[in-house]
Symmetry: D2
Subunit: 151 residues, 4 copies
């Protein structure tokens, strides 16, 4: 059974300025698209950057990784699915699967990891201090999902 | 006679990620290079962003313009000369001339305009409130220059 | 009377990576948004980059200018209207008006100019060689418009 | 004994437009700096992009990863050391160590992986087809290094 919400897919259309002299999307842009999809994902589960900021929660990026499967080109539409890979309460791992909407093929898989801190830099234990945020993330863990939101 | 200081030239080497699918530098990057050259120019005349910030002076961009003469390619070295076009005390106009160091040809001319404000948003009259900054800028006006710093 | 088509508005949502340390959108991004809106505009009038490319028409950027009226912030939605300011047949001038959709205020006005060339670099006289493209552009000149598409 | 050449360090100065609303360098830029350092590294070992291109060798990015240790700020100088982690002949793994030159602390560690292909897309076995390039890379493997070039 999947507790995960059914998400609206996030679509990024490749901009001309995102291409490089090989005629394809420069690989650095996928890192930015992960951020776009993460922002959208957190909005959709009700924990957007604005709400976190109001509560004084910062969530810096600790690491990123990206595996390129197929190139994309100017004007391609890329659907980016973000999902929680793991959330221990101290660290959050978000996974990303990017598909070319025209072909359905996976063009890139990615991952980012994050911690949670107060604006003064004190580590936050989500499960204890913000159980509702923890639950919202945990509910969207990939293990809880089948189908639409599963990579 | 030229009161202007002899400036160290600012050189930007075109990065691979700055090219686009036409195989040349994407035009938006020249706007960023103007900022790089402006930062360097202000450092060289002793009024870097850090000093301005300490004094509580913000200098937002009001406008930019850019005229493209010749394209540049990956790994080209572009020399960017920044100079003061006009400084009325309320508004600052900085001009930019960008040359391909290999050919000597001008690849782009640009201009930015700026105002001066306190961090709270009150307009600053440079000539009255920061006469030393005004002088440093005025000394580097193009009318005062011949040769090396003249576009 | 306005021959101009009623265009679907183009909306850009400000990405986190488009902000700078002043907490607002970095000014260089508006130049990129003009390109996004231009691509969308040309698609909407039936002359997208792909069609032009197939016909062997290149349309390089000769100049850009941008006037900043109000800053925008992360997650702001910016509506960008592109329209033809002038099209002499040799040169095309496109204007842009960008509005914050939440406040309705104009945040930036811009302009780009372009020429038309074959892929080998020969100048193209639109009116003679591609009269249909010329007409499609001319119909969307601002003089022909009232209301929705008029800046 | 270290066969590796003593490399000139590659330094990137953080640009204003690379900062974000948290007041620090946006994490996506480090991915671009890796490319800058890789280009410089290949130039220094005599196998720049231009030479590879002339020989018809493409070397696309298969993956990137980046671990953020400390943030950097506008105007910080970051020294980026690139070195070969592994070169099997089919795949090349390049490592990156980025240090704040003012403090000496490591701000980011990264890795990219690459394959080699002809411009038509046929995989190239470096060791067999371009033994000189293979050797140049192998000589700069981290195992061969102590001191200056060792991460």
């Amino acid at each position: 059974m999947c507790y995960a919400q059914i998400m609206e897919p996030y679509i990024h259309t490749v901009h001309y300025y995102e291409t490089d002299k090989m005629g394809i999307t420069h690989h650095s842009n996928y890192i930015r698209w992960m951020e776009e999809a993460r922002v959208d994902f957190l909005n959709q589960i009700g924990w957007g950057f604005d709400r976190m900021e109001e509560l004084g929660i910062a969530s810096p990026v600790l690491s990123v990784s990206s595996h390129y499967k197929h190139s994309t080109k100017f004007a391609d539409k890329v659907q980016i699915e973000a999902y929680v890979k793991d959330c221990s309460g101290l660290k959050l791992f978000i996974g990303y699967e990017m598909k070319n909407t025209a072909t359905g093929e996976t063009v890139c898989n990615g991952e980012t990891s994050h911690c949670f801190m107060t604006l003064e830099g004190r580590p936050i234990r989500l499960q204890k201090e913000y159980p509702q945020l923890f639950e919202a993330l945990d509910k969207n863990r990939i293990e809880h999902c089948t189908g639409q939101n599963k990579a």
